[in-house]
Symmetry: D2
Subunit: 305 residues, 4 copies
C-alpha cells in the first residue's frame, strides 16, 4: 500500500497542472469551485488507508452517480429490460450529445452518457418522486458507508433551471418509448442525484465496494458479483467520457469522472481510490485527478491489462 507521504508528494508534483484546467461554469454553484483544491484517498482490503490534500472537501458527485444508480436500477428491474432500453457501447461523442439517438439506435448508447443515465433514473422504483430519490440517496449512503450524505439544494436548482439540453434528450427518449414514466420526474431525480455532496474519502469507500464486487467493508453484499463486474466494465469502456479509450491506455483501471471534479476509481480485488480536483480538461475530466491516477498506476503497476 502506497503511504500518505508519497501521495502528498504526488499532489505537489501535479498541482501546477490543475491550473491549465477550467472548472465547470454552467451553474453558479460549480463556478465557485476553487481550482487549487486537490485531494486523494486510497483504501485497501487490509483496512489500510492513505490520503493527502483536500480529501475531505465536499463537492457534487455529478456523473459519478451514473454507475451507482445503474446498480440500484439493476436491483429494481430485470437486467434484460434495462438493456433493451439502453446500450452497452461507447459512443465516441460527448456526454451530452443527442445526435446518436436519431442516427443510430433509438436507444442511448450506454448508461454513462447523460441520455442513458436519465433513462436509468426513470427506472428507479418508488411510490413518489421523493421516495425514488430517497432510495437513490439511501443506496449511495449504504455503499459509501456514509449515512450523512445529502444533496446541495442550490446546485440542484441550478441544474434544473439550466438543464434544457438534458430535458431535450429526455423528451426525445420519451417520444421513442425509452423513458416510460414521467419525464420531468426522471429529470428531477437525475438533477438531484447529480447534486449529492461527496468527498474523495467517500469515493474511495465506494471504489473499494466495487473492487470487492459489491460487498461493503462490514461484509454486506449489496449487489451481485455480476452487477459489480458489469458496472466496472462499463466504467472502463465509457467512464471517462469520450476520453475513456485513452484513459484505459494510460491508466488502465476502472474509473468514472464527474464535472464536479471527482473521479471514482478502483483496482479490482485490491483497492478503492477517490480523487478530487475541480479543474477540468476539455472532455470534462479532472485534470489533476487524471494525472494523479496515471502516476499512481505507473508507480504501482495497477493496469488491469
Amino acid at each position: 500500500m502506497i503511504n500518505s507521504d508519497i501521495l502528498y508528494n504526488l499532489i505537489l508534483a501535479n498541482k501546477e497542472r490543475c491550473k491549465e484546467g477550467k472548472v465547470a461554469d454552467y451553474i453558479p454553484g460549480l463556478k465557485n469551485a476553487n481550482k487549487e483544491n486537490f485531494g486523494i484517498c486510497i483504501m485497501d482490503n487490509n483496512n489500510k488507508i492513505s490520503y493527502a490534500g483536500d480529501y475531505e472537501k465536499k463537492f457534487t458527485i455529478q456523473s459519478i452517480s451514473k454507475p451507482l444508480i445503474l446498480m440500484l436500477a439493476i436491483l429494481d428491474n430485470e437486467e434484460d429490460y434495462i438493456f433493451s432500453k439502453i446500450g452497452m457501447e461507447p459512443t465516441g461523442d460527448p456526454f451530452n450529445s443527442i445526435k446518436k439517438l436519431e442516427t443510430s439506435f433509438s436507444k442511448p448508447f450506454n448508461p454513462m452518457i447523460n441520455a442513458g443515465a436519465i433513462a436509468v433514473s426513470s427506472m428507479i422504483k418508488g411510490d413518489s418522486s421523493e421516495e425514488k430519490f430517497n432510495r437513490v440517496l439511501d443506496f449511495i449512503k449504504k455503499i459509501s458507508e456514509n449515512p450523512n450524505l445529502d444533496y446541495d439544494r442550490d446546485i440542484y436548482h441550478g441544474e434544473k433551471i439550466t438543464g434544457n439540453r438534458n430535458r431535450s434528450m429526455a423528451y426525445f427518449m420519451k417520444n421513442d418509448g425509452i423513458i416510460e414514466g414521467d419525464v420531468e420526474e426522471a429529470l428531477d431525480i437525475y438533477f438531484k442525484q447529480c447534486s449529492i455532496l461527496i468527498t474523495a474519502f467517500d469515493l474511495a469507500k465506494i471504489g473499494l465496494f466495487l473492487a470487492n464486487n459489491g460487498v461493503t467493508s462490514y461484509g454486506e453484499r449489496v449487489v451481485s458479483i455480476h452487477t459489480a463486474k458489469l458496472v466496472k466494465s462499463l466504467m472502463v469502456t465509457c467512464g471517462m467520457y469520450d476520453g475513456s479509450g485513452e484513459f484505459a491506455v494510460k491508466v488502465g483501471i476502472p474509473a468514472k469522472s464527474g464535472v464536479g471534479g471527482g473521479i471514482l476509481s478502483l483496482v479490482p480485488g485490491k483497492m478503492g481510490i477517490g480523487v478530487y480536483g475541480p479543474a477540468l480538461d476539455l472532455k470534462g475530466n479532472s485534470i489533476g485527478g487524471y494525472a494523479l491516477l496515471e502516476d499512481i498506476s505507473n508507480l504501482l503497476s495497477l493496469s488491469i491489462f
Copy 2:
C-alpha cells in the same frame, strides 16, 4: 487449466448457434467458408495447451492483424507520432464507417477500425512495398512462433478489387495529411496483411505473447510492456467492433475479432486463447467464438474487471 474434453463439450454446446450467423461474403474466398467449422485452442504459462475442434484449420486473419501491425508500427515510429495521426477512442460506429473522419476529428478514432488500421499500415518502414509487407509478415511469424505463415493470394486479390470503401477512406486520410506516403502502397500492405492465413493455434500463441506483455514463449522480448498493455487496452475498448462494450460486460477479457471468423483473446499474465468459427453476427464477430469465450470466461472467472 481447462482440459480439452471440456473444450470439446463447449464446442458441442455452442455448435447450433453458429448456424444463426452468416459468413462474410464480399469476396469469393471468404464466401466459401464452412459455417460448421468451429475450433478453439488455449495455451498457458506452464506450457499447458488444450484444444478442440478445427483449431488447426487455416483462415484469413483479417482485422486481427490490426493490433499486431500496431505493435510493429510502434517499433518503427515514435508512439506520439502515431497517436498524433490516430486516436485511442472507441467510435460507436461500424468498422468501415467514414463519417467521423469528416464530422469529428480529421483523424481516425482508433487503430482497430479500418481507417485507423490503414493509417497504421502506412507507417510501416521499408525500402519498398515488398519489404514493408515482408516486415509485417516476419513480425507476425515471430510473435506467433510460426515461421510458415503466408498470405492467401486469391483473397488478397479479392480484397484489393472489392476494397473501394477502404480506398475511399485512405484517400480521405491522404487529403487530410493522416496518410503521408503513397495511398495505394498503404492499401496494398493492408490488403495483404488481412489475407494472412492463420489458425486458432497461432492465435493462442499470439494471445499468450500479449498475456506475457510482449515476450515469446522462448523468452525473447519483442515489444515493451508498455506497448503490450497499450494494445490490450485498445482491444478491450475497441477490439470487437461496435460490440466491444457488450463483450467487455459479458466476457471481460482483451479480444480482437476478424471477419475471417477468428478471435484473438487472452487473460493478462495467464493464457492466450484462439478461436475460429466463420459464422458472424451482425457486427462482424464470430458468433460461435463469442459464445465459447463467454462460456469459458464464466466457467473460469476470467473477467479482468
Copy 3:
C-alpha cells in the same frame, strides 16, 4: 384559366394513386382521415375560380401554417433578428430531425422544418399565450379571407400529448438561446396553429394572396412584397420537406405541404392553388395533391424556371 371539368378529370385520373399513400397516424384525429378524399381549387387574378372534388372538406393545416406564421413573425420582429436565430437553407433531412441542431449550426436550418417553425412561433408577439395564438388565427383569417377559421381541439390535444419530439427540439433550442421565451408556450402556439381547420378553397385564397405579393383580393396590403417573395422562395427550396428539390424539378412552383394532406401552392402573379388529399407519400406530402399539381403544371406550363 383551367376549367372545373378538366380539374374533375384530373381528379379522376389520379384517384387511384392516392391508394398507394398512407394517412398520418400519430394521433387519432389524423388517423381517421379518408384516403378517398381528394379535392382542388384554383383562383386567379380575374376573379375566376375552378374546383373539383372535396375542395370544401375541412382538414388541419399542419405544416402549411409554417410560411404563414413566418409572415406574421416578420411583421412582429426585425427580419434580421429572425434570421439570426433561424437559417434559410434546405437541410436534406426529414422535417422532424434534430441532429443538425447539434452538428452544424446551433440554429435550425430554415423556418419550414419543425425546429425552425417552433422558433418562429416563439417570436409571435402578445401579452399572453392566448393573445399570441389569437393573433396567429386572426392573421390566417385575414389572408384566407375566411373569418370563420378555428382550430380542432381534439387534434390540438393529440398533438400536444404526442409532441415529445417537437418538445425535445424546443428544449434543445432553448438551451442554445434560439428560443428566448417560454418553451411550453411556444409549443402550445405551435400545436394550436397546426390544428387550424382549413379547406382547399381557403388555401387557394392564401395562394392568390402570395401570388399577388401580399395583397388580399379586396386590395389590402398585409405584408410587403419583400416578405411575400421571401416566403415564396423558401417554399420552393424547403416547402415540400426533403422532397423539395424534386418537386421544383417536376412541378416548378412555390408550394407548402402539411401532413393533414393539404398543399398550398401558387403561380407568382397569376393564381393560387389549394389541394387536399390525406394519403401521404414517404416524405409526408399528399400523394394525390403532388400528382395533380404536376399534371396541372405540365398542362399549363406553370414552372417558374
Copy 4:
C-alpha cells in the same frame, strides 16, 4: 435592358466588398487569381448586350461545369437512369461533404455537389477517356457559342494531384455501385471539365441559352425544354452551394457558382448573366458576383418568385 454605364457603377459600388473575400488557394493556379478582378456581362433576347469590368478575363469554370455536363449526360442516358444514381435534393452540407453518402441514401443528394457531379461525369459516353472529355468540351463550346474554349493544363494537373477528397468520394460511390465505370477516368474527366477556361461573356451566353430553354442564339435546339427547366430548378435549389436558400431569398434567379470566381446566372425567358470575381465568401461563392446579382435583381425586379 440595363446599360453598361449602370453596370460599371455597380461594379464600382461593390468593388470594396471583394476585398473581404478570399481566392481559392488549394492549387497554385487558383491562388494566383487577382482579387481586384471584377466583371459582368448581360445578354438578352433582343441581341442587346451590356458589360463592365473584367468581363473578358479568362478563369476556370470549376463547379459551373456541373449543370452543363448534366445536360450532356441527359442527352447520353435515360434521365431515369441518371436519377436512379443521383438525387435531386439540396443537402445542407458543404459541396465536398462525404458523410451523407454513408448516413442517408447511398446516392449523392444532387448533381451540383462534387459527389453528384463526379457521378454525372462517369455517365458521359465515348470510346475513350479523351473522346469523353472532348464531347464535354464540344458541348460547352456549342452552348457558349465559343469554339475556342480549352482547359488549363496547369490547373487540371493541380486539381488531379490535390483531388484526394474527390477521389475518396468517387471510390465510395464505386463501392456502392453509383459509379459503374472506371473511377480514375471519371475523375480525370471531372478534373478537366473543372479546368475549362471561360469568361463572364461566355457565361452570359450560356445563361441566355438556358433562359431560352435550350436554344442557342442562332436557333439550334440543343437540349429539350424539359432538360433546361430541370437544370434551372436544380440551380435554384442547389446551385450556390449550401448558401442556395439564402441566394433564392435575396436574389431569386437560377445561378451556379464556381470557386474560380464565376457565377452563371439567368432570368428565364429574358436574359443571361455572367459575372466574375475570384474573391470568395465562406461558402465558396464569388462575394462580388453575389453582391452584383443582388443589386441587379433588386434594381430590375428579376426575382422569379
